[in-house]
Symmetry: D3
Subunit: 290 residues, 6 copies
């Protein structure tokens, strides 16, 4: 008899039952305002991960030693944001209720809202650490309240003032920057202040959302709205580690990879490496805090 | 003093007042189920038309001799189909009420619904001639009723049985083909029967919707869901001419060009040539029938 | 609990036990003499098939009604042809011994040899029908006997004279064309003579190998060594049907799709459609003959 | 000691002295009005020819049996048409004066003028057979008299009325089509009338200029101004053969391949195959007529 | 009635009369010696700017608050450098004579000469600050005196010794570096010495020409002759600010973006962001000095 | 008479007899485990070098003043590693026996073994300095002992412990990192320790192998297995200079450029510039030590 060799992200070969972490994709990009394509990110990352090493020389740790289940991609309704978020919520709810930690692969940034809505039900005092080039704080976008450009504003409605910590921001409306002064902690251009933020959140539940366009387009061109002047891969990897080691992470996501925009494939590999490092840090964190 | 040299589609330099035909784009592709990108079609066509000839050796006629106004692209709400269709409807309503003929450049096929909703208000006995590789007759798509895959079904709800004439169809669910037997005239694979259809519609108002993927992907690869086994450029050009010369056309559209999927630019040029031929036929038709 | 949504080729959701047909990929292209890349074909086809319809309006049949298992891709040793062919043989042997019919997705054309070696053990009187632009009859290629350019010559060594029926051939060394006169039935340029060949093989076991570059590069540019002057998609689909309906097919393959060479994705979709038609024809054939 | 293995177009390994035909490239595209890039054509064809067969199954003849010298590409002054044409003229003059036959690889169509100026000095009664999608008969282009869009008009100034025979034409200004009625033989859309033309030119010196965009963009997308509705590869190959076998060809060119516009590489290979067929026909012709 | 929605660069919506700055494109690249394509830069920048923010968090300023008119692109004669420069001169003359400040978008670097010829008529004591990877100081290029490779040499003929200040230079002939020692101030590799230069030019009229290939190809791959070892986006943005704030700028240009060479679109966006920052600084400068 | 203008890498116009350095390509990539294509690197570098300057402003030296012969590419058997390495060995043996210095352009990294096998015959005390992102120290790769992933392990078998000095390494199996502790000097991530290594090797024969993926993919995306977190172009150029000036180099290679993966062409140009700098340093070194 033959077994199927169809597989998920590299090294994520735990069963759902034994897994501490559950990875899943959210192939949705209907509100992308410039160039869509992030719906292909999770599948492109699984495909590209096939040839990559599971061992990290940065951490001297191997993904084969972690218990991660890759649930694949739920089928999301392209073109209807409310239906798509509902389905992401359904998956997230299951993961949280089984005491596991969700890691979401976008998709556009709006998908984060699907997880956060569930997270906040379980963790009333939730904080969000947000790495991004863009503010994402609009009240609406051409009339639509559910949009990649409004996602953190929608999260703020759930969490309230002082719960969202933004880093790397270098693009947005003037009005968004003004609004943020009263409602979020917005750090421009880089990660200055991150260590202090992490210390201040000690013990509290934190969700980490990484819009990969926080990186400079030189190393990450494969995204819909690239912004020059961003952070390097090593700076982002270090920042993720700082958060993962210092906070009580209860979930995380990587969003806005648009594979076809980078014909060289580098952006997809950068996202895979970052995911590997994140997954390697997560269980360690989890064991410490739960 | 300097005047701006920013211009619309080649040869479309009439003012709105003097124009018989009004061209406008619909940069919307939020429900594209496979690969989005049609939102860039209208702008890509204007750009590529810059170097093309306005004269048609097929018709021995010149676009410079026609009165066409290019209204540009209204700003559509990406991610919210209802809002986007509303805006397309607003523009169409104005054009119809001013006694002009709208020609819409998609965008995905859903945008057709925005024009048809207005057309049916003015022309109660409207027929639709539909060139496409796909049936587009689903009741819903993953729960969404407004979708490129349902657009002709939504049109049918407005028009009723026996008003939609489909040609070139070679892909769809089995259930769609079954359903069509009672509700539309569906012609598989090519244009067989088109001349007879055109004769049967003599004098009645007709809207022509051309999903460019009715063409074989060999000459038109730049579309989200290409289907081999399609018609040639010359067959499509002839079919468009058959309709334009034989029917009382009250509006038309060309949809589903996705420029970035064809790096050679051929697909965009094919769409431009077809638009030129369509525009050259339209006023002739209009003068005869109104 | 969550189930994984990772899946194989569209509609191929039978278990191995219930399956009549077993699909598997051979990601190998080490001997490609011009531009490699066919190793990605099977995965690209699964990915692209996600959005395609399982229903064929050509046959009025649906892949959901067939019992096909997608075994994924065995891990092949890139760079060592003998090891890779051994692994393909191991999988094929299992399928044949379980009374099922293998359908192989290349990879380069050399992978065919891995299946044929096993097929000839089970079916001593095996014939091969070979659709291709190239002869593939060299004795060796720069010293290597195992090569895409020699694969039919190696098959001939197993089968002997008069067992290989070649169609569509339009490129090769003069010496290959000369050699073929005494050893194979080589039909130049198209499918002339195919129906007669099929009739002559009535009741005998036949393996069908389709090098997709038999098609004209206008509709199938995504291949390493494209040859203008080829057959159309509809001609190839008809020819495959002729073989599947008239012969006792005991296995088949589609090879030489190189997805990255066709940035539009059309070639991958063409291959998927052809595979759908082939799979739809096969069980019918199988039920008749076994 | 080591010899260099740097080589020219496949099978063109005669020395200059023994060669009957001299191939050379003209890497020039300064007047390209839409998308430049033909300057890379000759080098791309040499590179791609490396893996192609020198044997033609269409003609049962082999390029290895012909005496062709590949002179490489003279260094042309990009940006100054007069200087570039002067250098092409210098090379052509040498070839004509040595009693050999020049075959030029463009570059844009203007380069043809460099050879024709020399040809007409040697052959006062020269005719030109011109395969193209475009008329190329403008008096000037935005003020420039030397342009790809004016090249046949410049040739007409050298040859006079009734000497230029155009086939495949399907694009141009209305004024060009009008002008042609009194000065050239312009055949629209295809090769109708070609055999009659060839018979009428029996014994007279003929130069063949092939703008490769005469082909349909489905099989030849790699050109700056593609025109749908063109001829197939086999139709063009047959037409070239008709001319080569029926006329006294004294030179020829293939122009307007723009390799980077066709990422699949098919267009470059199509041009190589056509060049192989042309080169195979030429010496045969030459031996008959000189 | 419908108004056209065709628009220029983001936020440049002043009328010509009220504008302080006039933006225009120069779609010309006939002398590009390696890979042409810069003719598409100005249109690509307008198109890409559609989705970008007009607000700069670097300057806390918004382009909506500036008075800029986008004049579009004059029609330039491709293939004749003298005619093209004449037309650029005609536009520049008008802008200077109306007391406005021209900002030119290339096109290749030669277009700078069209503006400088007019600038030097108005400002006899003009200095040029030149950011570039290349010297551009050749006497001629393969015989042509008008070329992107000679443009600063032609400017020097108008201005004389000691008036051209070059930064970022890392490529050129040995002879150019030698020649520069007596005639220009050439600073290798980066912006060292820029602040001192700016101080030394206090109060004198300065034209700023930015060849975007001064940036490292990691962040700006979309240019014909990329040179590794360049400056970062932030370094260039800072250098432009240093010049704009410290000098009496009377005009400026950004040249050598070749959009199609960067399929990710990042290079075009980098150019747009730089243009936004430049435009935001200019009026401030202008108000101080005039 | 006409001479051929077909040429090698820029400025490499010495005859074999007068050359001190012999450049040759190794178009082989059969064992590439992820994305092949390096077989095209040497030809792409020659082509791209056509437009580049031979003068280095970094070194104030000109390649025209060096005696380098470009031998082109030997014809290697794609698909059979042993045959291909044999042919590379044959060429290397000739170069070493004629007292010249070989510089090899890959191809994949396995090709290095072909030169090293010959080098170690001539220089028994050979050391290797190895710049790479990957360890390349596997015992075998899916059963194959000859592979890009095992090449340094095969070299170690020839040289023994303590002879291989690795820099820039940031990817590999855990087992490879462990193994290296006893057998090679492995420096992670960058060039720390390089100067000390160079001093320690004073006077001993050294072969330098540069896997270009040691660079960060931001500036060198054109490689099969890009690894973020790499060194910059300037860091690599400096490191190469440190080795070339401080060691007795007896041969060198640049491998793993895969031109088609970087559509912008930047990676090929980066490799060309690095080769120019390497070639400019080598003769100086050679004159000192031999």
């Amino acid at each position: 008899m033959l077994n199927s060799s169809l597989t998920g992200f590299m090294g994520c070969n735990a069963s759902y039952e034994e897994a501490e972490i559950v990875l899943f994709g959210a192939p949705f990009d209907s509100t992308a305002s410039f160039r869509p394509g992030t719906r292909f990110a999770s599948r492109a990352m699984r495909e590209a991960s096939f040839g990559l090493e599971t061992y990290s020389p940065y951490l001297d740790a191997d993904l084969e030693d972690r218990a991660v289940f890759d649930a694949g991609d739920p089928e999301l309704c392209i073109g209807d944001s409310a239906l798509a978020l509902g389905e992401i919520g359904r998956v997230s709810r299951q993961i949280f209720s089984d005491g596991k930690l969700p890691v979401l692969l976008g998709g556009e940034h709006l998908v984060t809202l699907g997880v956060v809505r569930e997270a906040v039900k379980k963790y009333a005092d939730l904080h969000i650490i947000h790495f991004d080039a863009h503010t994402d704080l609009r009240e609406d976008y051409l009339g639509a309240r559910l949009s990649h450009a409004t996602v953190l504003r929608r999260c703020w409605e759930l969490l309230g003032d002082g719960r969202i910590h933004q880093f790397g921001i270098r693009s947005g409306l003037k009005a968004e920057f003004e609004w943020s002064k009263d409602h979020t902690f917005l750090h421009r251009f880089g990660f200055e202040g991150l260590e202090q933020t992490v210390r201040s959140l000690s013990g509290q539940p934190v969700y980490l959302t990484v819009d990969l366009d926080v990186m400079d387009p030189s190393v990450f061109p494969g995204t819909g709205t690239p912004e020059p002047g961003g952070v390097t891969f090593l700076e982002l990897m270090t920042a993720v580690r700082t958060v993962a080691q210092g906070c009580n992470l209860i979930g995380a996501d990587l969003v806005e990879l648009s594979p076809a925009l980078d014909q060289s494939g580098v952006s997809t590999i950068v996202a895979c490496k970052l995911l590997r490092e994140l997954l390697l840090e997560l269980p360690h964190q989890k064991k410490n805090n739960i």
